[in-house]
């Protein structure tokens, strides 16, 4: 993706350095405050609350869909075709926005509580982002 920062958004879960293939498991790169413990994504240089220099952390690869909706009309600049699902996935202490792929059903389907795994989403030859692969069953 076109960078606005030199920071990485994600790394491959297998630790390899090369670009991930579509569907490879990823870990999102966030940050954690050594003083107050606040987690941020994307990673920040300093904690938003106490301004202490923050350290990079990898967010859990697996989480749960917290909220979801669908986009039916293409927003400006988007490279992904409509319709698509997006939502918040709770990854530990942070809920992160992302595309929802996998067992997502029709636009507008309710996905709250479903398990979701962070994966690579190859849009085209030049653009790879992260997405959340949603599983079929709600977490107990």
């Amino acid at each position: 993706m076109t960078p606005d920062t030199t920071r990485r958004l994600f790394v491959r879960e297998d630790g390899e350095a090369g670009p991930p293939a579509h569907g490879d498991r990823l870990r999102l790169v966030g940050s954690s405050c050594p003083a107050c413990g606040r987690v941020a994504f994307p990673a920040v240089d300093a904690c938003a609350a106490c301004f202490t220099p923050a350290a990079e952390v990898l967010l859990p690869a697996e989480g749960t869909v917290a909220l979801n909706t669908s986009v039916l009309h293409p927003p400006p600049g988007a490279l992904v075709p409509v319709p698509y699902h997006l939502g918040f996935v709770a990854l530990g202490e942070r809920s992160v926005t992302g595309l929802l792929v996998g067992a997502v059903g029709e636009p507008g389907a309710g996905l709250i509580g479903r398990p979701a795994t962070t994966v690579a989403h190859v849009i085209d030859d030049e653009h790879t982002t992260y997405a959340f692969a949603v599983g079929p069953e709600a977490r107990a």
Partner: protein
């Protein structure tokens, strides 16, 4: 805030027009000055709120009216832009830095999705730069966490459209039934087209001055302008993530600041204009502004209290859902409505006996402004 009054307001209707932003803005500014009985030569400073126009926009607009030679300062904070301009103008009067300030908001916003809303390139390319989606997520959270339903979202829109029938400055002036709102085109579930405001064009202005300079004009007291930007645990679009646990609320913080500064409580309020970017945002504002307890937002709506003729009308102008949203002008558009309400000049949409009014805008980048106005 003890010394700030508004002596004049002006508006260019909100809608779609063949002419440019300079004419939109000049119309509203001239109307506000005429309403105040103030000439451009009596103004000490001019603040101009706008999001999308070119450089030196305020200078370009005011140039249509004259070249007063006083400072012209351009202010931008997304949908909260004119709240931010009003904040600065009020501080200038209260501290004595200026005796009279003209505050103008103007916008000529293209149709459709708002581009360049603060998303980073990776969000835009990856499909995450979609404002209505985030409002839809907030709506879903409201429905999941309270007894509010999608029918309540439609009722907000129906209520505000009924108000706008009486507002010649609104873009949409036709009543819409709850069923029509529900049946309109789906944008981002659960939000349909008629549950979302349309970005559009318009301008609004106010003349602020000190009590000493008001000289028996038909003035309304500006008792508080409380502006807050994002804290560490707030969330509002377009942030890429939010705390998974408890969050703080921008509107709550801004409202508490405004009420403390004005010496009022929510029980004192007679009329409200709030940021109904979408239907759920109005219900969330009921909570944030202290009009309803958390969980009672939909009950307040259903009671009819927030409808014209009810105990506490909200968005008697028709709100952004009916007026449309010219980003830089929306906050001053609310001030225009509330000043005229407190003066008793609102015709068929008059809130009888209104003496205390509250306005509320919020925007991308996490900015919220709550203003309190009273009739002495």
């Amino acid at each position: 805030m003890r010394d700030v009054v508004i002596t004049g307001v002006g508006i260019h209707p909100f809608g779609r027009f063949p002419h440019g932003y300079r004419e939109l803005g000049a119309h509203a500014a001239a109307e506000a000055l005429a309403d105040a009985g103030t000439t451009l030569g009596e103004v000490d400073a001019i603040l101009v709120a706008n999001v999308g126009a070119e450089m030196a926009k305020g200078q370009n607009v005011i140039g249509r009216l004259g070249r007063p030679g006083v400072p012209i300062v351009n202010v931008e904070a997304a949908c909260g832009s004119s709240g931010s301009a009003l904040f600065l103008a009020a501080q200038m009067i209260e501290t004595g830095a200026a005796g009279t300030v003209l505050c103008l908001g103007v916008e000529k916003q293209p149709k459709g999705f708002i581009a360049a809303s603060g998303y980073e390139a990776w969000q835009i390319e990856g499909g995450l730069g979609a404002n209505p989606a985030y409002f839809a997520l907030m709506a879903q959270e409201l429905i999941e966490g309270t007894d509010a339903t999608v029918e309540d979202l439609a009722l907000v829109s129906s209520k505000n459209h009924a108000h706008a029938v009486h507002n010649p400055n609104a873009m949409y002036r036709k009543e819409v039934a709850v069923e029509e709102v529900l049946a309109s085109r789906m944008v981002c579930p659960p939000l349909t087209l008629l549950m979302l405001c349309a970005p559009n064009e318009g301008a609004a202005a106010a003349v602020l001055t000190s009590r000493a300079r008001a000289d028996g004009r038909d003035a309304v007291a500006l008792r508080a302008v409380s502006l807050v930007s994002g804290g560490p645990d707030d969330w509002f679009t377009p942030a890429a993530s939010m705390p998974a646990g408890e969050r703080t609320d921008l509107t709550t913080r801004a409202a508490e600041g405004a009420y403390a500064e004005a010496g009022i409580t929510p029980e004192d309020i007679d009329v409200v204009e709030c940021q109904d970017t979408d239907s759920a945002s109005e219900l969330l504002a009921y909570r944030g502004l202290g009009l309803a307890e958390a969980g009672d937002e939909a009950a307040l709506l259903r009671s009819g209290d927030t409808r014209l003729g009810g105990r506490l009308p909200v968005n008697p102008s028709g709100g952004l859902l009916s007026k449309g949203e010219p980003l830089g002008a929306s906050g001053l558009g609310q001030v225009h409505e509330l000043v005229q309400q407190l003066r008793g000049r609102s015709g068929p949409r008059q809130v009888e006996g209104a003496r205390t009014a509250v306005g509320h805008v919020m925007g991308a980048g996490l900015n919220t402004c709550v203003v309190a106005l009273t009739r002495d």
